[in-house]
Each structure stands twice: as structure tokens, then as C-alpha cells.
């Protein structure tokens, strides 16, 4: 149960990230595109805390995100899967190198967007036109990548996981 505290703190940060993302980043949006700060918290939680921490953080953070960005549930689905996949990296990838942080953010944003697209297709939810979709994806990936080192630096200070997250949660 050592990682319960880490996951709860990560969820608090997810909530704060969600609030920031839906308020402050309205002012900082570039061509109406905002970074996905919640995704960065899920990635951090997964890579540091393991599969269970990642998917729990992803699910609940996604549920929170569903409150402000309908449809309710789709964010939870996507972020749970991402949390699960990134959790597999626990113990094999260090999140500290700058380049790794950028790569994690980039792959995470692309994966989230593709998963979201697939989920929307499955549930019959209309999405963005193709051109706009790729433009948004590119800009969002870049924006999230730029902020990743800052977000990871802050999370590193406050969110603490044990070395073997899967077993201790």
C-alpha cells in the first residue's frame, strides 16, 4: 500500500492540472490548442509508480476530465490504457533525462490522440476533420513536450513512489 499515497497525490495534481488546463491555458492557448497537462501527470505516475499506479491515476484523472470535457468516460478509457502501457516502463526507463521526458510526452500525446480517435469511431462520436486533426495533434504534441520537463520537475518534488510500485500498491 506504499503507492496509495503517491497515487492520491498524483490525482490531486491531475485535478490541479485539469483546473489549470481549463482556465489559465485558455489564455495561453496557441491557435486554440492547449497542452494536455493531465496526460503528463498520468505518464509520470505510470513510469514512476508502475502499471497499477498508472492505470488508476489514468482512470480517475480521465473521469475528472470528463466533467469538463464531455463525453463523460472517454478520457478515462484512453488515459487508463495509456497509464497501463506506460506503467510497463517502470524500472526500465528513467524519467529524469531531458530527452526521455520529451519522447515520453510526444509518444503519449500521439498515442492519446490516436486512441481518442479510435474510441470516438467505436462510440460513434464525431471528431475533428482530418486536416484540423493533424494540425491540432502536431501543435498539442509540441506544446505538451515543451511543458513536460517543467511538469515532471514539479511532480518529482511532490509525488513519491516506491521502487516496486506494482507490488506495493
Amino acid at each position: 500500500m506504499k503507492n496509495t499515497k503517491g497515487v492520491l497525490v498524483a490525482l490531486l495534481f491531475s485535478f490541479a492540472a485539469l483546473i489549470l488546463q481549463s482556465t489559465l491555458f485558455d489564455f495561453l492557448a496557441i491557435w486554440n490548442v492547449k497542452p494536455d497537462l493531465v496526460l503528463l501527470v498520468v505518464i509520470f505516475s505510470a513510469v514512476r509508480g508502475g502499471v497499477m499506479a498508472g492505470q488508476v491515476t489514468g482512470f480517475f484523472a480521465g473521469m475528472l476530465q470528463g466533467f469538463v470535457s464531455p463525453p463523460f468516460g472517454i478520457h478515462a478509457l484512453v488515459k487508463t490504457i495509456i497509464g497501463h502501457i506506460y506503467g510497463k516502463l517502470e524500472g526500465t526507463v528513467s524519467i529524469d533525462p531531458f530527452l526521455i521526458q520529451l519522447m515520453l510526452a510526444l509518444i503519449g500525446t500521439v498515442a492519446k490522440t490516436i486512441l481518442m480517435l479510435i474510441a470516438k469511431m467505436i462510440f460513434g462520436i464525431p471528431g475533428l476533420p482530418v486536416g484540423e486533426f493533424f494540425a491540432t495533434l502536431g501543435l498539442e504534441s509540441l506544446y505538451t513536450m515543451v511543458l513536460a520537463p517543467v511538469v515532471f520537475f514539479i511532480l518529482n518534488k511532490f509525488v513519491v513512489f516506491s521502487q516496486k510500485g506494482m507490488e506495493t500498491f
Partner: protein
């Protein structure tokens, strides 16, 4: 039983994943349903409370930053406006200079039309004899420009030409002009309408009038206020019919005298003289 628990324990990540996927899929599928909407709205109410706080804080920072930006913008606009004002002031000065130039050129044109056969030299007033004395003045041309002593000097003001005086001393590059305000100045004159003659004499630059003496008493009866006094041309120093001044109403006469002394207001404002014209009288004859 133990075996089953062991399997569950080993596969717990996958089991939780499947549960979460199932829950989120159901939530997505039924997101439009009343139950899900209730949950969603309740969650939204909670989140929106914190969003309100964050928006307030962000708005405060944004307003503060915008205020600084606005002050900066206003400062720049003020600087631009000040620069424009300076430009307008310069333009206004240029305009004044152009107007003066235009007035001078018009006076020259008028002079050419007035004295077709008269040659003239355009000069500029460079100094007065002393600060408040408009009896004598100095112009910027002299002997080298063809000016000699006793040449008549005229000026153009407010659309009319007027007699200034005559040259009394000539240097190489400058000349001294005695104006008709000088008490030592005497000019043969007559009333333009009635042709009664007299002698115009200066009263000093402090007086705002000149006197016309030796005017027949009869002339006063025919005079009306504002009657123009011009040069008579007698004595051949000044050309004929150059305006000198206008009679107002005042005159001074003694019963036993047959002539009267009249006060004349000069047509020129001597304090504002800038450009003058020195006439070659010999050519005019």
C-alpha cells in the same frame, strides 16, 4: 481456492484494467443518459467551483499584465502624439513662413502692377535704430546693389502699398532708411479724393499718428473720416499717389489761420515691417 486467488493476484493489473475499460466504456455509451448526466453535472459543479477560483486568479494576473501593457501602449501613444504635435508645430511654422513669403511675393506683384515702369530693389529690414524707435531702420542692401541716398522706400501690408520713407545713408551692403514717423521727415502729400495738398511730417515713433500741415481750411469741410492721403509727387523725391495714411477726425486750427494741421494714421504698421522696396524714381519719370 488458493490457486484461484493466486491467479487473480498475478493478473490483478489486467483485471483492474478490464474493469476500468468496462466502466469508462459504459460511461461513454451512456453519457447522454439522465443518470450519467446527473453524475457528470455534480462533478462539473465541483470542478467549476475551483475553476472559478482559478479563473479569478488568472483574470487578476491577466488584468495586471494588461494594465502594464496598456500603460506602455499609452506611453507610446503619448510619445507619438507629442512627436506629431512637434511636426504640426513645425508645419504651422512652415505655413507662417510660406504665408509671409506669399505676402511678400504678392506685394512684389502688386508693386510691378502699380509701377510698371519703375525699377525697384527688394530689401529686408535687419535692424532698427534702437529697440523701440521706429524712426530709422537699417536694410540689408546698399551701394553694391544700386541704392543711393534719398531713394523712396515703400512697403506692402494688408493688401495695400504704403510709404515707408527714404534712404538717408548708404553703405556698401546696407542702408539707413528714415521713416515718415521721424520728426525730421517731410513729404509732400494730398488727399486722394479732393486733391487738397499739404505737408506730412513725422511726430516720432511713440506717437501713433503723423501730422499733415499746411492744409487749406476749406479742405476740412470736404473731408470725411478715412480719407486717404497720398504722395503728391511734388519735389520729385517720391513718386505720385503712394498711400501715406488716412485722416480720422482730429484737426487743429486757429481762427486767424487759413491753414489747419490734421492728424493722419499711417497705412503701414511700422512695427511689423519686414520686407521693403526701394524705388528708382528716375526710371519712373
Amino acid at each position: 481456492m488458493f490457486k484461484l486467488r493466486n491467479i487473480f493476484y498475478r493478473q490483478r493489473n489486467m483485471i483492474v484494467l478490464l474493469i476500468f475499460i468496462a466502466l469508462s466504456s459504459v460511461s461513454t455509451m451512456f453519457s447522454g443518459e439522465p443518470v450519467m448526466e446527473f453524475a457528470s453535472n455534480t462533478g462539473l459543479s465541483l470542478v467549476s467551483f475551483f475553476q472559478g477560483i482559478a479563473t479569478g486568479v488568472a483574470g487578476w494576473f491577466s488584468d495586471t499584465v494588461n494594465s502594464i501593457g496598456k500603460i506602455d501602449q499609452l506611453t507610446r501613444e503619448l510619445t507619438e502624439t507629442q512627436n506629431q504635435l512637434i511636426e504640426y508645430q513645425k508645419a504651422s511654422l512652415d505655413n507662417v513662413k510660406l504665408r509671409e513669403e506669399n505676402e511678400r511675393l504678392r506685394s512684389e506683384l502688386f508693386l510691378i502692377q502699380q509701377f510698371v515702369n519703375t525699377q525697384y530693389i527688394s530689401v529686408e529690414v535687419v535692424a532698427w535704430a534702437s529697440e523701440n524707435d521706429f524712426s530709422t531702420l537699417i536694410v540689408n542692401k546698399g551701394e553694391l546693389h544700386g541704392i543711393v541716398k534719398d531713394m523712396p522706400v515703400v512697403a506692402f501690408q494688408k493688401g495695400t502699398i504704403g510709404l515707408v520713407g527714404k534712404t538717408i545713408a548708404v553703405g556698401l551692403q546696407s542702408s539707413v532708411v528714415r521713416t515718415i514717423l521721424d520728426p525730421r521727415s517731410f513729404v509732400g502729400a494730398l488727399f486722394k479724393d479732393t486733391r487738397y495738398k499739404g505737408l506730412v511730417n513725422g511726430c516720432g515713433s511713440l506717437a501713433d499718428y503723423i501730422e499733415m500741415d499746411m492744409v487749406s481750411k476749406k479742405a476740412v469741410e470736404d473731408l470725411t473720416s478715412g480719407t486717404l492721403v497720398v504722395t503728391s509727387g511734388l519735389g520729385k523725391l517720391f513718386p505720385k499717389d503712394i498711400p501715406i495714411g488716412r485722416w480720422q477726425t482730429h484737426y487743429d486750427a486757429k481762427d486767424y489761420e487759413s491753414v489747419v494741421k490734421l492728424q493722419i494714421n499711417p497705412v503701414l504698421d511700422f512695427r511689423r515691417l519686414e520686407y521693403l522696396y526701394i524705388l528708382h524714381v528716375e526710371e519712373n519719370k
